[in-house]
Amino acid sequence: MIAVQGLSVAIGGTPLLRGVSFGIDRGQILGLVGESGSGKSMTALAIMGLLPPGAHAAGRVVLDGTDLLGLSEPQMCDMRGRQIGMIFQEPMTALNPVQSIGDQVAETLVIHRAATRSEALRAARRRLDRVGLPEGRFPLGRFPHELSGGQRQRVCIAMAIALRPQLLIADEPTTALDVTTQARILDLLKGLVEEERMGLLLITHDLAVVAGMADRLAVMRAGEIVEQGPVADVLRERRHPYTRALVEASAHHPGADLRPTDRPLLQVAGAVRDYPQPRLRLFARPAPFRAVDEVSFEVRRGESVGLVGESGCGKSTLTRAILGLEPLQGGEIRLDGQAVSAGQRMQASLRRKMNVVFQDPYGSFNPRHRVARLIAEPFHLTGRPVDADARVAEALVSVGLTPEDRHKFIHEFSGGQRQRIAIARALITRPELIVLDEAVSALDVRVRAQILDLLADLRARLGLSYLFISHDLHVVRAITDRVLVMQAGRIVEQGPTEKVLRAPEHPYTKELLAAAPVLEVPP
């Protein structure tokens, strides 16, 4: 149905895509995998005719006998939405915040003159029903800010399929979503492909997602497709070394055997965090929202503990409370026997003992400071030691960078290197506990594998304890000894990681595990 033949894209003479060729039939799903910057999204945008200004495409993109690259912009506008629909990664920002969801779905029909406004709204209603947003809870007049991420992605899907296009392009459609939501969205997409006999180009960095969904798989690297074929064959044979590296990295397990001690380092006992709700009536005090509800657990010295749960379950609030950034309304948190409490100035000695690494390696550094200053930042809280420069160099070396890197600015580093710098910043005060808040979630699989190795190595060498917050069960399995499962502010299950993930007891843990896509690699 669609055939991409020798598609090349260049911006100002720099090639971004080189001779990309693939085909998709009706009712078929092609998974396009690769790391960030490999050209996956560029391929999608080239098919859509939405390349950034200055980019030039060559080759052929043939949809039902028409070469899309030869079409004029108005002709292409007619194709988009009608013949090809597309959904994007970030559902939170993909919808116009000031327009109702009904109008946005109906717009696809109105803009293509396929229906009058009232007919279009009726059609929008049917499409929203189909994607799992029934009228009772989701009337057409709802605005995007009233919906969750998964619900917004459903609206985007309804928008993309409103005119029953032949080809749907989904660019990382579930990357920003929780595992259970991801599973439901993938189910929906699969159902739509069967029902409507659409072709689906599913772009993702996650091999496990593709393995469970796609008929065919194309592996992309540096603007080229290095291997493609039926999913099972590609995963079994792994002819190209890059495919092999990807598969291995996805299932990577740092094989260090570490024995934690029995001495507790972090003790959380009955922690409660309430948030006041907005007042609805003038004199009625609203019930507070309990984000963390009587949570108790321990992290022992040298132990790595995972904390898993969906967004909104209270993981981040709990993390902030542990770091002394949120006051508690009940219970207490002790680090090495000393109480951690927000609001008062934390003692330097206590502050020194824990540090944090955040998810976003791009947003968590001041772009105008050099690396040396970025890494030395925690010294503002603990006092600058005399050997500060030597310690910066030492921290850089221990995360696999060189001391010379301290003179550079952060934009000179890749995502993985930035995350190494974030870890170096966390190590600088020689802490005992490092809180890793989704610290590897934004990284490509191969880089993620390297960072996981680094973390395991640092833990073995420095005797660190980790509190590892993640929504990704594979990563948690790879790096933690024990796991806590959090739902709606409570810890519903905890125990040794292997045991909990192999034989979960709580229904929520079971649900999480069932939803997590699994990459089963044939030997």
């Binding site: 912009e73 920002t93 800010h145 907005p278």
Partner: protein, 314 residues
């Protein structure tokens, strides 16, 4: 939406109350005798005492404040010391010039700025954009009274299309009044339009980079349709903020322009009242301006909520 409006209305009332206390305190309570100040250095003690009596400065501050506020609520702003007429009449006359002038200037500036900003944003980086940015830079840099003098030279002295100044009064008819306000309104509008066009341009450019514009394009909207149907309304919020500030400024900030064109507006009234030490007029006009600014802010808040559904629930 109603709840939102009511809560904004409540805060409007509280702001007014706070403003009245501050103004009253600044003029009448803070040490220094207003009567002595008004009469100047050579006043005899008898004259000062007589004026104190006339102003009612003898009573307690609280009683005087309550009298002042309740007077204003009834429309009684007191008697101007220099003009010897009720301040309310004086202000009302001037408002008939200032409000139309501000509205006229604002309408002109909006009519110029929004299309120009849109045009520049849609052709970002092109010659149109560069030309617009250069022109607006000039518009911001050049003071409006200089524009005013230039306008007088060209349109009044050379071409004789407009008179160089003065205001015939609305009694002379709508058209002559309108004509007399045209040059001042243009002089006021140009710098404001330059600012507004830049705000419009940058707001639109930011909006055009948003993911939902990409979604709209993927649905088959052309670039122009995406701008009209999605970007414009989202870009309006910063534009509304600036518009609100500009109206408040235009109402009283036209002092220089009113002087250049000999217009009997509010700006000139307050300027004269200050030079003549007519504290009664100053007090009332300042209060009136505060009221106008707060009212405009309130209207801008309502406009925000009309544009952006996310604000309606608060």
């Amino acid at each position: 939406m109603l709840r939102f409006a009511l809560s904004r209305l409540l805060s409007l009332g509280l702001s007014l109350l706070a403003a009245s206390v501050v103004i009253f305190a600044a003029i009448e309570v803070i040490p220094g005798d207003p009567a002595a100040y008004m009469l100047g250095m050579n006043a005899t003690p008898e004259a000062v005492a007589a004026l104190r009596d006339e102003l009612g400065l003898g009573g307690a501050a609280l009683t005087r404040y309550l009298d002042w506020v309740s007077g204003m609520l009834r429309g009684d702003f007191g008697l101007s010391y220099t003009y010897r007429v009720p301040v309310a009449d004086l202000v009302a006359q001037r408002l008939w010039v200032s409000v139309p002038l501000a509205g006229y200037a604002l309408a002109l500036s909006t009519l110029i700025a929004l299309p120009v900003g849109l045009w520049a944003a849609a052709r970002r980086g092109g010659p149109v954009d560069i030309g617009v940015m250069g022109a607006t830079q000039l518009g911001i840099a050049v003071p409006n009274f200089w524009f005013a003098m230039l306008l007088v030279l060209v349109f009044a002295v050379k071409l004789r299309w407009f008179s160089a100044g003065g205001f015939p009064g609305w009694e002379a008819g709508v058209w002559p009044g309108f004509k007399a306000l045209t040059l001042p309104a243009v002089a006021l509008a140009l710098p404001q339009a330059a600012i507004l066009a830049r705000v419009m341009r940058s707001a639109l450019i930011e909006t055009l980079g948003q993911d939902y514009i990409r979604s709209a394009r993927a649905k088959g909207l052309s670039r122009g349709q995406a701008i009209r149907r999605h970007a414009l309304r989202n870009a309006l919020i910063p534009v509304l903020t600036i518009l609100g500030l500009q109206f408040s400024f235009l109402l009283a900030g036209a002092i220089i322009i009113e002087n250049v064109f000999f217009l009997p507006g509010l700006g000139r009234l307050i300027f004269q009242a200050i030079t003549q030490r007519d504290l009664i007029v100053v007090e009332s006009v300042v209060m009136l301006l505060v009221f106008a600014v707060i009212l405009v802010t309130f209207l801008v808040d309502l406009a925000y909520a009309a544009v952006d559904p996310r604000l309606r629930r608060r």
